[in-house]
Symmetry: C2
Subunit: 240 residues, 2 copies
DNA sequence: CCAAAAGTGTTTGATTTACACCCATGG
DNA sequence: CCATGGGTGTAAATCAAACACTTTTGG
């Protein structure tokens, strides 16, 4: 099988081996009290029928973030403005795709719980699944996507500890208890509601009170907040 | 100017735009009490005569770490075993190289202070320069290497805070004072020698005493240590 | 009024900081 | 014996965990 047919010819006459470049996405959300990841079922060879991460080829005149943003919108309907998007890592083992030499730039996206992937688009084939079974069977995922998924989850967990990233899983306005539920879902640990509340509200610039309250959790009305300007949390929520 | 002459033809008949893939290296060391970065002077267009980061094309059957390791050895004589090497980020703006579409995977390397780059090799053209002037004139660097360098330094600083990475700047055996000098060089801050000593020696598994002592710092002989097995430091050296 | 969740105050123990002090060497 | 840096002890200040207690809603 011909892996690729030639070399890229550039103007200075040097010859460089050609690569295809893709972006792959680890999209995480918190749903039903647990951390879930977005997967698609592959419809074509190789790995037809297997679960894979959403992603696709980078276009000739598109930068990497744009490609990731575009794929995210195409496959989930999530716009860049909600949630959070950051580069994760790049994967380039020569045999990671049996067809040809593909280097994949992986992105990590954190999104609030959405109604459902938008039907009638590519997103129809995509769905959120709890990460525990996915990680246990990571070898079943297409390509090296099991590794990419594990790396993305590890990154998300470690960044949540000492940054305001958890708010990316919440809707625009949220209560302290909703934010706490995110932390508890990500680690499985229980946190003391009272100390958690004090810690976050006493960090200046971390949360911005809207002045509105809600009773959607039951009980006494809770203050609604939006993300503040401070992104770093020092010391972190969980201590090792 | 022809940016590239064609498309990569793969066996399944799909056509994908061809990219060249390179690795670029941010190599840091502590020398003369300050953080320094390895740069080379470019000998060819584009950016001839400008300072650039060491790096080069990824070969057809080579993975990304191997390419980074190879370039590091070729340009500095540093072997993988000394120091530390990790992936930093990937840069893929369509116009970052005027010749063609190049995606560059950047690696961050931390190395102990070496005698000198090995002469008679590619390394002859490379040298360590203090990071302050380089960062001030980051716009002068070839391609987007100013951005890559800044990202690498930021990553190194933030990882040093809460991990054992600082030992990568030290020779195999080192004293607590030598390790403290690394932290002081990286941030410019002064740290209390006594509390610093207590903190590191009381973290189990962080440092391994060799039993040997040295008087190379003057004064009372200091215990020599090697890196321990524990990589994480919690809480970190510097508090925000 | 009761249950449920939000939010505050206070106690206790751990951690950090600052700095006094002793130790072991070279000159 | 003195200067130099290595290393230990300790008290005061700060911070975090645990939990009793008050507040404000819905039913």
């Amino acid at each position: 099988m011909t892996r690729y047919s030639g070399f890229v010819q550039v103007a200075d006459t040097a010859m460089h081996p050609p690569f295809a470049v893709t972006v792959d996405l680890v999209v995480l959300t918190v749903r039903d009290g647990c951390l879930q990841a977005l997967v698609v079922e592959r419809g074509a060879e190789p790995y037809s029928g297997r679960l894979a991460l959403p992603g696709g080829f980078v276009r000739p005149d598109e930068n990497l973030v744009s490609a990731a943003t575009r794929e995210l919108a195409e496959e989930t309907g999530i716009s860049r403005s909600a949630g959070h998007l950051e580069q994760l890592a790049t994967y380039g083992e020569p045999d990671r795709d049996p067809r040809m030499r593909v280097v994949s730039v992986a992105y990590l996206a954190l999104a609030p719980d959405l109604p459902e992937p938008v039907a009638g688009t590519d997103a129809a084939a995509s769905r959120f699944l709890p990460i525990e079974p996915l990680l246990r069977r990571r070898g079943q995922l297409a390509f090296d996507h099991g590794t990419i998924l594990a790396d993305g989850i590890e990154r998300a967990r470690s960044k949540l500890e000492y940054s305001a990233l958890a708010t990316a899983f919440c809707p625009k306005e949220f209560t302290v208890a909703e934010l706490r539920a995110v932390y508890e879902a990500v680690w499985g640990d229980e946190l003391d509601p009272r100390n958690f509340h004090r810690k976050l509200t006493s960090t200046p610039g971390f949360l911005t009170a809207t002045g509105e309250t809600t009773t959607r959790g039951g009980g006494r009305p809770a203050q609604l907040y939006t993300r503040g300007t401070t992104t770093l949390l020092n010391p972190p929520i969980l201590r090792g």
